[in-house]
């Protein structure tokens, strides 16, 4: 098989070749590294490429394969969002603040993936500290959408999404606080899953908003998504918010049949703001889902949906304002000089953080301040409970909800950079899912003038199997996922 064909494989296809020893992990890895060399000048998905480490890990994987070990991810090259701590490999969060920060420990998901035989080809670009929806907030450079390099790949996991779409890796990890896996996955026509809060350990994920953050897979198809989810899920005693629920074999949920499933179409999501072409794509998708045996329920309502964005932009910045307080230049990372200790700490934050990060720290600091706490933070927590309850009620009648991933197709670089609020609206369909701690899956759902549209499936807590089943059936019936961008 030619290198260009190798890199186009899904993880499970590659694993089959590796298992039959038709290709070695080193060969596969070399092909991926070559691909990165060929296209990343245009895509700019990677903050740090790790070719030497990748080849070393590939050799190790080949030894394991030689010894008879088999596994769906053993020897498969992947990319890791640069907000996940990797021992010995710098983890920048695409921020000047951590430009030279080399973690002395691995995130839990890294432990799990290394066990599964990960070959890490690099760390991918993101909006600084995962704050953004276009990857333009990276302190280093923006990432480009492989389907149209004048457009954004979405964000914050734009680097991971673009890398998967451009065949610069076979799968990737992202993190999702308000849509940061799903929105870029939708923009790049790949599969992305935000697991139920607590499904995947956050240990080693640099915190943005602790009660919303979740690590998840970004993959070329639903099968890979299920495999990666299985590899990274499970209880971790180091994360007190990680769930003890047993991890099923997610691939067993992958059946191309939706009979007996009731899918809800929440009214509030199909309101103004949705691009007409996106709406059309959704209608086509709903028809397809019905053909596959699902019952479509259009009488579903989530009345508090319009408040979700406001709730999110109070809670997430509040938590972020505390989470980012540790970057004071004293112990690690960027450190600016100053006449006094206070001045040095001030300068460190002034020059170490970018404008969006500062904006959110200020928002959160304000929302938590004496005299404002009740009106903002506390009120937002109450509405959060309301939103959760509404979802609970809806899931009494539906197995999953179907919405677009984003209201629009990918926008142009710079198009929304001047208007934070316009940018925030890009996550309007994904944010409620984090607020309620639910799982959300996005699968490719077609194209509008060559630009991807994503379909989002939302489920009740720990119903990843249902979402994967719906996503798989839809994917098999449409094959949008097989299209490749031309680069």
């Amino acid at each position: 098989m030619k290198p260009r064909e190798l890199v186009g494989l899904t993880a499970h296809q590659a694993a089959r070749l590796l298992a039959r020893r038709e290709v070695s992990a080193v060969e596969l890895t070399r092909a991926v590294l070559e691909r990165i060399g060929a296209v990343d000048g245009k895509v700019r998905a990677f903050v740090t490429a790790t070719p030497d480490l990748a080849l070393e890990q590939a050799r190790l994987a080949d030894e394991r394969l030689q010894a008879g070990e088999r596994g769906p991810l053993l020897g498969v090259p992947a990319a890791i969002k640069d907000v996940i701590c990797t021992k010995g490999v710098r983890t920048t969060c695409s921020s000047r603040m951590l430009e030279g920060f080399v973690p002395p420990y691995d995130a839990h998901v890294m432990n799990r993936l290394y066990q599964a035989g990960l070959v890490m080809v690099g760390k991918t670009n993101l909006d600084e500290f995962a704050m953004g929806s276009s990857t333009e907030n990276s302190a280093f450079f923006p990432t480009h959408n492989p389907w149209d390099v004048t457009r954004v790949p979405g964000g914050s996991s734009g680097g991971s999404a673009a890398a998967v779409a451009a065949d610069e890796c076979l799968y990737a990890l992202g993190s999702d606080t308000g849509g940061s896996i799903r929105q870029p996955a939708g923009f790049c026509s790949i599969v992305g899953l935000k697991p139920t809060y607590g499904r995947v350990s956050r240990y080693g994920l640099v915190a943005f908003a602790s009660s919303l953050d979740q690590i998840g897979p970004m993959a070329k198809d639903v099968t890979d998504c299920a495999l990666v989810l299985g590899a990274i899920s499970g209880h971790d005693p180091r994360d007190s918010t990680s769930a003890p629920n047993p991890v099923p074999d997610y691939t067993r949920a992958l059946v191309p049949d939706l009979r007996g499933l009731r899918l809800g179409v929440p009214r509030e999501y199909y309101a103004e703001g949705m691009q007409p072409e996106v709406r059309q794509a959704m209608e086509m998708a709903l028809t397809k889902l019905q053909e596959l045996g699902a019952t479509i329920d259009r009488e579903v309502s989530l009345p508090s949906t319009p408040h979700a964005l406001a709730v999110y932009y109070i809670l997430a910045p509040s938590e972020a304002s505390a989470n980012l307080a540790r970057y004071d230049g004293v112990k690690y990372g960027f450190s600016a000089p100053g006449e006094t200790m206070w001045e040095a700490m001030e300068h460190t934050k002034q020059f170490g953080f970018g404008p969006e990060v500062k904006r959110r720290i200020m928002l959160g600091t304000y929302a938590l301040s004496a005299g404002y706490y009740d009106a903002y933070y506390l009120k937002a927590q109450k509405v959060r409970t309301l939103i959760r309850r509404e979802f609970d009620q809806v899931f009494e009648r539906c197995d999953a909800l179907v919405t677009p991933t984003s209201p629009t197709v990918p926008f142009r670089l710079g198009e929304k950079a001047e208007s934070p609020l316009q940018m925030y609206l890009s996550d309007i369909y994904t944010i409620p899912v984090n607020i309620a701690g639910l799982p959300g899956l996005t699968v490719p759902a077609g194209f509008v003038e060559g630009l991807p549209v994503g379909l989002q499936l939302i489920g009740k807590p720990f119903s990843e199997e249902t979402l994967l089943r719906v996503g798989y059936a839809y994917e098999q019936a449409t094959a949008w996922h097989k299209r490749k961008p031309s680069l």
Partner: protein, 491 residues
């Protein structure tokens, strides 16, 4: 106008858990080189998460129960935000509105009365790193950060503003420390900083019940410092009010060597800590069954032990109170009784208990106080004291010389037999030698002899003193008395 003193104390006690509050690092950092008891979690590196130390929760519940507090059914942790280089995450994980326990009390004896001092709450948080400020000879100043202390469990015990004098505050603090020591949850060492105290002090016109502007006093590093600082602050406030001025609500620091408090920051400069629930730690349910299990396993506390000393050992309430005021002394006392085999002999137990008590409350405490030592630092073991008492009982040494020997044992850590032999303190048991000393005393003091014979009983004491002195204290006073009476009996 006459004013009433209003004091509330905030005590922070480091807990004696093996590991830190939220990670597996050893909490026993006292002797460790800087930055050796650290890991990504207590260093606050990006991406780490806290995990609650169950033992710390247990210790806090134990303390709360001993202080008659109500235990929360569900408790949670909160983030307290403030920037400082000793706070590695930029926030401290503490407890804000749902502490582990609340509403308790502690009975304190002071100024001739016993009063219940309200306990507002007992909660748990993490200690900060330690900053070491350096001044180089060249004029450069800088600070070093030692993260060993970062994340050590810190229990906060807040009293109601129920204390009415510096003396009562001191007694409260001592009693609280004793309870923590009895529970085995903290060393209670103020000088080493494992037991810290801040005070809120205000005055109000006698007979009124509202609280006026209070001053928070910090930086008191010993019980004496707390007492002195409070005395100073009460007087200072009296003078301010006496001048017709108002008390400024502020934080003041105690300056030990100058004996004054100085303003550190005013109310306007007070931090807004922006507390909010710690999202990394779900609320913690404390099941009633678990709390009851802890209650049932609480060790004997000072008051109960004092009562037992009275009822079992026949000690006076005064002695029992002094012996049980510190756990170490009470343990020492009971070790002595056990080693002496006294507990197996009910008929002589009260007598033996009183003897041991006399030794401990007399010589032992005197020597400890003189050397500013803790019971644990004493070089005389209970076994040493028991053997010394045995020598007295056997008549091998006089009580007076035994006290001398005890001092030597206390100083050197030597065994009683060795001290007695080396210092020549053994009792003169040779009857002829005793007889010679008595004869010499009679011959040298004709007038007292005559006085005694004339019926002046106290003349005998003088003669006894002469014999004892000549013997170097080694004669058995009882034997000397008998022999003198025998010799001077009218014939």
């Amino acid at each position: 106008m006459e004013y009433e003193t209003v004091i509330g104390l905030e005590v922070h006690a480091q807990l004696l858990t093996r590991s830190k509050m939220f990670c597996r690092c050893s909490a026993d950092y006292a002797a460790a080189p800087p930055n050796t008891h650290v890991c990504p979690v207590c260093l606050g590196l990006p991406g780490v998460l806290p995990v609650i130390n169950e033992q710390a929760i247990r210790y806090t519940v134990m303390t709360a129960l001993a202080l008659n507090c109500a235990i929360a059914g569900v408790t949670k942790f909160d983030r307290k935000n403030y920037p400082y280089p000793d706070l590695v995450k930029g926030y401290q994980i503490s407890q804000y509105d749902t502490p582990i326990s609340h509403q308790g009390w502690l009975a304190v004896e002071a100024d001739g009365a016993t009063r219940r001092i309200g306990i507002t709450r007992v909660h748990l948080e993490e200690d900060t790193a330690k900053l070491l400020h350096r001044n180089e000879p060249g004029g450069e100043t800088y600070s070093l950060v030692d993260v060993n202390r970062s994340g050590v469990p810190l229990m906060e015990i807040v009293s109601e503003p129920d204390l009415r004098s510096p003396e009562e505050a001191r007694r409260y603090l001592m009693k609280l420390r004793t309870i923590l020591q009895y529970l085995g949850v903290s060393t209670g060492n103020m000088e080493e900083g494992s037991f810290r105290c801040d005070a809120n002090v205000s005055l109000r016109p006698l007979g009124t019940s509202e609280y006026l502007s209070k001053v928070e006093v910090k930086n008191m590093n010993s019980f004496r410092a707390v007492f002195r600082a409070l005395q100073y602050e009460v007087e200072r406030q009296q003078q301010v009010l006496g001048r017709g001025e108002r008390i400024v609500q502020e934080t003041r620091g105690w300056v030990e060597d100058r004996g004054v408090t100085v303003s550190q920051r005013s109310k306007e400069e007070a931090h807004d800590y922006r507390y909010f629930p710690e999202p990394d730690l779900p609320p913690l349910a404390l099941s009633p069954a678990w709390v009851e299990e802890i209650r049932a396993s609480l060790p004997e506390l000072p008051e109960a032990r004092g009562e037992r000393f009275i009822s079992h050992y026949g000690l006076s309430p005064y002695d029992a109170g002094l012996l049980t005021a510190g756990k170490a002394l009470a343990d020492y006392f009971e070790s002595c009784l056990t080693l002496a085999g006294a507990k197996d002999k009910p008929e002589t137990l009260p007598k033996k208990a009183k003897e041991v008590s006399n030794w401990l409350l007399g010589e032992f405490l005197r020597l400890l106080n003189a050397g500013e030592l803790e019971v644990e630092q004493a070089r005389v073991s209970p076994a040493g004291l028991v053997r010394l008492m045995g020598l007295v009982e056997e008549g091998a040494i006089t009580l007076a010389n035994a006290k001398q020997a005890f001092e030597e044992m206390f100083r050197t850590g030597q065994a009683p037999e060795q001290v007695v032999a080396e210092k020549g303190l053994a009792q003169i048991s040779d009857q002829e030698a005793l007889a010679t000393l008595v004869e010499q005393a009679i011959a040298a003091n004709p007038r007292p002899v005559a006085d005694y014979r004339a019926g002046k009983e106290q003349a005998l004491s003088f003669l006894m003193g002469q014999v004892m002195r000549a013997s170097g204290g080694r004669a058995d006073p009882q034997a000397v008395r008998e022999r003198l009476r025998e010799r001077l009996r009218p014939t």
